[in-house]
């Protein structure tokens, strides 16, 4: 029995268990419901707006972009929070005390947060298709594009979440260190309005990060070819999308294990104890 492969198998099972437990938890159900209802209400109130010069209705333009933002947001903030919290509550330390435990733990995290995308995307996609017309113009090929963009987007952004969760000093800091930058980035990445309305240098910054490209990729899947005129350079730039996302994925795959190892090395019982005391003070 190869212990590493065995640990990865246990990690997959762990991720699945966490996923099932999360689906059953009222707290997480509430979160999915809240995001979905919020998005749908936003789209519903903008349902009669037409995007200038394209003949496209706003929900048609915005839905793929919002899905893109959700992928990025979900797999950066989700793991960052989870990791920061599990560093403090001892989950991570438990795994550090096991043979090959960290490999299993990280596999579990990756599995859990990847699976977690499904309900958050489906709870928006399914009702959107019931409420709005003309969302998907790409047909079967379009869905195929959705699939690879989501997978690449996941690989590009999930490591960022793991890194963030490893370096934040405490769970309470995930908000300022993680949520704020990600929200800012989303705001400038052409999710709620086309990126051209921003200044040139802001556009340049946005195009360094994966969020813009995930949105672009999803728009290329959902929107009719005529809508390409809304994009920069009147092109879907599929090649560049793949290139940027793969680059982020490779960088992430190289850096994340190192950051995780360093973080795990520093884990100890007294750290967990200190976090516990800090939290108790926070509460009282």
């Amino acid at each position: 029995m190869n212990p590493t492969r065995h640990a990865i198998g246990l990690g997959l099972r762990r991720g699945w268990t966490e996923f099932v437990l999360s689906l059953r938890s009222p707290q997480d159900q509430g979160f999915y419901l809240f995001t979905a209802v919020g998005t749908l209400v936003y789209l519903w109130f903008n349902r009669d707006n037409e995007l200038e010069g394209t003949g496209l209705m706003y929900p048609t333009y915005a839905l793929p972009s919002i899905l893109g933002a959700l992928v990025a947001f979900g797999v950066v903030i989700g793991p960052a929070f989870a990791l920061a919290m599990e560093r403090e509550d001892g989950t991570l330390l438990r795994h550090k005390a096991l043979p090959h435990g960290m490999q299993g733990y990280v596999t579990g995290q990756l599995t859990y947060h990847s699976l977690g995308l499904l309900p958050s995307l489906l709870t928006i996609l399914v009702p959107s298709f019931l409420l709005f017309d003309g969302l998907m113009h790409g047909g079967a090929a379009g869905w195929l594009t959705v699939a690879w963009v989501v997978v690449l987007g996941l690989l590009a952004t999930l490591p960022l979440g793991m890194i963030l969760g490893s370096v934040v000093p405490s769970t309470q800091k995930v908000g300022t260190w993680g949520m704020l930058p990600v929200l800012l980035l989303t705001a400038i990445s052409g999710i709620f309005f086309p990126i051209q309305v921003m200044w040139g240098w802001v556009q340049a910054i946005a195009q360094v990060f994966p969020v813009y490209w995930i949105g672009l990729g999803l728009r290329s899947a959902f929107l009719p070819d005529s809508a390409v005129t809304v994009e920069l350079g009147d092109s879907w730039r599929t090649g560049v999308t793949v290139l940027v996302l793969v680059t982020w994925a490779v960088l992430g795959a190289l850096v994340t294990p190192r950051v995780l190892r360093r973080m795990a090395r520093r884990q100890s019982g007294s750290q967990v104890q200190a976090a516990r005391e800090a939290t108790l003070q926070w509460v009282h």
Partner: protein
């Protein structure tokens, strides 16, 4: 099983451990006793491989914990203090998941991990096996921590303040569990506590850690005998009552009888308790005086 020499640890210019020498032999239950801030947790975390010492030599199961691999990990059990992790899981599910990591390290002589139902019954969680961990009481949660720590049938087990927050019943159950582990499985155990009664009850040997070094080592009895004035004699002659500390109880009482004879109306001899011993030794360490014969005993 465990051997350290000259173990030092400092944070910045504050020295927490200043030369700790300790040993744990196979099958032994050793209790590390000391006031808060004496370095108990630091010591045990170094032995667990969770912390790097500043200097000194450490050998745990023949390896340096800082560099030991996963095969070493599989032989060591660590009982951690958890507080809110895995709240949605059940004890059965968690033990099954975590125990899985030990399967590749199972041998015919030492099958790993323990069977989950058997373990749940051993720590007294059988009836709570399928409850959410988040709903367990503090004591039940600690028993789960112990179960997680021993699931891999460790040869050596570390427990840091295992019974903090236990009620008396939970404490007694836990003590039985430790005895069973050491008697039936031959597990060597190193635990920290500041509960003297616990140390006296559990340990084959007690180490007193004060001011970053071991100031005494021995069974509760041996430690008590190391401190001067091991007994207190109280007596009364009619209405007058007297108290006198002495090392030589028998001699002193004989002289009392010779002197007072029938006028002696009451007599009581009190052995120094482990508590007296402990306080005396910690005090001695604090006063900075090298603790005389006691220290020599230990550093050998």
């Amino acid at each position: 099983m465990v051997r350290t020499s000259g173990l030092r640890m400092s944070y910045g210019d504050q020295e927490v451990l200043s030369g700790v020498d300790l040993e744990v032999h196979p099958g032994e239950v050793v209790c590390l006793l000391g006031p808060n801030g004496a370095g108990k947790t630091t010591t045990i975390e170094i032995l667990e491989g969770f912390r790097l010492p500043s200097a000194g030599e450490v050998r745990v199961l023949g390896e340096d914990p800082a560099t030991a691999g996963d095969a070493w990990r599989a032989r060591v059990g660590v009982v951690l203090q958890s507080w809110r992790d895995h709240a949605r899981w059940t004890p059965r599910r968690l033990l099954t998941q975590l125990g899985g990591y030990f399967e590749p390290f199972s041998t015919p002589e030492r099958p790993r991990p323990y069977e989950v139902d058997h373990l749940l019954a051993t720590v007294g969680l059988a009836e709570h096996a399928d409850r959410k961990i988040g709903t367990l009481s503090g004591g039940q949660r600690r028993r789960l921590d112990v179960a997680v720590g021993i699931i891999g049938r460790p040869e050596l087990l570390f427990l840091d303040e295992p019974t903090a927050g236990f009620d008396p019943q939970a404490r007694r159950d836990f003590h039985e569990l430790v005895h069973r582990l050491s008697d039936l499985e031959g597990t060597s155990i190193l635990l920290t506590t500041h509960d003297l009664a616990e140390a006296e009850k559990l340990a084959d040997r007690i180490l007193i850690l004060a001011h970053g070094r071991i100031v005494a080592s021995g069974s509760a009895d041996e430690l008590t005998r190391q401190v001067a004035g091991t007994a207190e004699v109280r007596w009364a002659c009619g209405p007058d009552r007297f108290v006198h500390p002495t090392d030589d109880v028998v001699g002193f009482v004989r002289r009392l009888f010779e002197e007072h004879g029938d006028r002696l109306t009451d007599l009581e001899v009190r052995r120094a308790s482990l508590e007296d011993t402990y306080l005396a030794m910690v005090q001695r360490a604090e006063s900075g005086r090298p603790a005389g014969p006691v220290l020599e005993e230990v550093t050998r």
